[in-house]
């Protein structure tokens, strides 16, 4: 009996790590849910789940784009700045009505995404440096366009932020539909295959005749468009455009969600369900600590622990 355990031990460890990498994030979400049901008063209410879902929706939307970029072995640091930019542009063009304003927002986001993609794919700048430039420049531009918070009273914008369909808020619907769409693109389309191939090995993809540059540019444009969507939704929810603080540190939240969700930073693999769960995990963690009135510094420490655990699990997988 003892003999058997001894012999299987190392194999079990690898298996546990692999299991953790794939399902750890879901286990984490489950554990947090159970703990909260037991210790947090009023946790089991529809209103509470609605609040958590509404708060996490923008993070999920940004993280979807981030997952695609990370799948190409890149990273997009400019997502927070794009959110701020979309808030400014929404406020500036809302006079023409909601739809025209949203079109202009999309235009701005596409330009930022194109700039990111062009720097990475055509000029050959490292993604972290290219998107860092637009992270700084994008927020700068947002503040030039709208130097201070502005209240918005457009009724269609307000209903976008707080309205619902059959009790499900638009924000949650948007996040769910986009998650399904991105998951479909990654799994079932040629573009998704090409994206993963580029992330796996760019030279190999190039040699195989894949449109590497086009794929990269499209990925960064999609990431910027998703970030802009999140920015507009957050602005709609706040009913105010606040380019100074909207999207601050969003790039880190998004990267955390992606990494915790089991997508390796080395590219070639994208886990969309895991990314959504990763965002939910961080949201539940923050909510738990806030609801129990623990010091804010604890939230940061708890997040760090989760990230380290996720990276540890990923390391185990890499060695295999």
């Amino acid at each position: 009996m003892a003999d058997v355990t001894l012999r299987t031990a190392p194999l079990d460890k690898a298996r546990v790590l692999q299991w953790l990498q794939t399902y750890g994030v879901y286990a984490g979400v489950a554990v947090l849910l159970i703990v909260n049901v037991v210790v947090t008063p009023y946790f089991l209410s529809a209103e509470n789940f609605r609040t958590q879902a509404v708060q996490v929706a923008p993070v999920i939307i940004v993280a979807l784009g981030m997952a695609l970029v990370i799948g190409t072995e890149g990273v997009d640091l400019s997502v927070g700045a794009v959110m701020a930019l979309s808030a400014s542009v929404t406020a500036l063009y809302l006079g023409y009505g909601l739809l025209p304003a949203l079109l202009v927002v999309a235009l701005f986001a596409a330009v930022v995404g194109l700039a990111n993609g062009a720097l990475v794919a055509l000029v050959g700048v490292q993604p972290i440096v290219a998107t860092l430039a637009l992270m700084v420049g994008g927020r700068g531009l947002a503040l030039v366009l709208l130097p201070q918070l502005e209240d918005l009273r457009n009724p269609s914008l307000a209903s976008l932020g707080s309205g619902d369909v059959l009790g499900v808020p638009y924000l949650i619907l948007f996040a769910a539909v986009l998650a399904l769409l991105v998951a479909f693109v990654v799994r079932r389309t040629t573009f998704g295959r090409q994206l993963l191939a580029v992330g796996d090995s760019r030279p190999a993809a190039q040699l195989a005749g894949l449109p590497v540059r086009r794929v990269l540019i499209v990925v960064y444009v999609v990431s910027a468009l998703l970030a802009a969507t999140a920015g507009v939704l957050a602005t709609a929810r706040l009913q105010a455009s606040d380019p100074t603080s909207l999207g601050n540190l969003m790039e880190l939240s998004a990267i955390t969600a992606v990494v915790v969700g089991g997508t390796p930073l080395t590219g070639g693999r994208v886990n969309i369900a895991g990314t959504v769960a990763g965002a939910v995990l961080i949201q539940l963690l923050t909510a738990t600590l806030i609801k129990h009135d623990l010091p804010p510094s604890w939230t940061q420490i708890a997040q760090a622990v989760v990230i380290v655990a996720a990276v540890y699990a990923a390391r185990g997988r890499g060695k295999r």
Partner: protein, 365 residues
């Protein structure tokens, strides 16, 4: 990995820069925001009667004269005043503060040089050194930090340039390194917010605090004053929740959403600035609450928050008056004429509640 020629890289940069410039230009040229017509706000017209008043010209307070400081008398009218702002003018307080200094300089016909440190302390140090190099005879500084001013103070002392600091203090010797400090008493603001909260809630029940950014003296002092006064005057009022909203509206909204979910019986929310208070209002609206269900008390006195009182969502706003211009120039004038000025000039802040919100909204910034 990806091979790219040198020329391409050189070409890319100007392209990106000119692209950004073009975008910024076109974006502003045909923009149309919701209320373009009514955007003529923050002018000084209504601000006139909201001028700062000194709260504590205590007779025993320490004073400073030009002889003790070691500078030379001069006529303020012919002098150049340098103003160094700490944070970018992205919030109402900073906008009103800079505007007030500019307005007063224009009113008095004094030449004013301004600089903005964009929330970077190293930039503020070099800003002030620039102002000195450009020939400022007098300095008004809104410090970003309290420490680290030695290089500037030395440079100013060498040129015998008097310094007045506003809204935050610097850690140095008054009347030696700088002349006076003009500012609000943040602990007192906290105490007065507590008074309003006690009145609004009847001194019983559970209240929450939306803290400002961590590690900021404004946050710690506004918290201390509030808690001390609650403990002293209304022991039945319990602070059951303290979370940071980072002085931002969105964070205030998110934290309040969690709060009203986990503690539905909460009676009051003390927000350490108006923005977080307005975020709390947004959260309450989103949760289907009615005005008055939860009493909100905030600090700052921006127009939006005072409007919140008129609408019934906010119970009280303690003012933190940003209009330092008149008092700062008055202090400099008195000082440069050789008369004595107080080293610590604490200003009197107003307050808004249901009684005066409607009539005094013009004073809000």
């Amino acid at each position: 990995m990806q091979r790219s020629t040198h020329r391409r890289r050189l070409l890319a940069r100007p392209t990106v820069v000119s692209l950004a410039a073009a975008v910024a230009l076109t974006a502003t040229s045909c923009a149309k925001s919701e209320d373009d017509a009514s955007s003529a706000t923050t002018s000084s017209g209504a601000a006139a009667d909201a001028e700062q008043k000194v709260a504590s010209p205590e007779p025993g307070g320490k004073t400073c004269t030009i002889d003790a400081y070691g500078a030379e008398k001069l006529d303020l009218k012919n002098a150049t005043v340098g103003f160094s702002q700490s944070e970018k003018e992205a919030n109402q307080f900073r906008i009103a503060e800079t505007q007030s200094i500019r307005d007063e300089a224009r009113r008095r016909g004094v030449k004013l040089l301004t600089a903005n440190a964009q929330s970077q302390f190293s930039k503020q140090i070099s800003d002030v050194q620039d102002l000195l190099a450009k020939g400022a005879d007098l300095l008004v500084i809104a410090p970003l930090n309290s420490d680290g001013w030695d290089p500037v103070l030395k440079a100013a002392a060498a040129k015998k340039v008097p310094i007045v600091t506003i809204d935050r203090k610097i850690n140095a010797t008054a009347c030696k390194d700088y002349v006076s400090f003009i500012g609000s008493d943040f602990v007192e603001q906290g105490r007065r917010a507590a008074d309003q909260m006690i009145e609004a809630t009847g001194g019983k029940g559970e209240v929450a605090i939306l803290l400002g950014a961590a590690g900021n003296n404004v946050t710690t002092e506004r918290t201390k004053g509030f808690k001390d006064r609650i403990a002293e005057k209304a022991p039945d009022l319990k602070v059951v929740f303290e979370q940071t909203g980072d002085f931002a509206r969105e964070k205030g909204q998110q934290v309040t959403e969690q709060l009203i979910q986990s503690k539905p019986g909460i009676k009051g929310i003390y927000a350490e600035n108006d923005e977080m208070g307005l975020g709390a209002v947004a959260a309450l609206k989103g949760a289907g609450k009615k005005p008055g269900d939860v009493e909100i008390v905030t600090v700052d006195g921006t127009r939006n928050a005072v409007q919140g009182i008129v609408d019934g969502w906010i119970s009280g706003v303690i003012e933190s008056n940003p209009r330092f211009g008149p008092l700062a120039f008055q202090t400099l004038e008195t000082f440069t004429q050789g008369e004595e000025v107080a080293q610590d000039i604490v200003i009197e802040d107003g307050a808004y509640d249901e009684a005066n919100a409607q009539s005094d909204i013009g004073k809000a910034y």
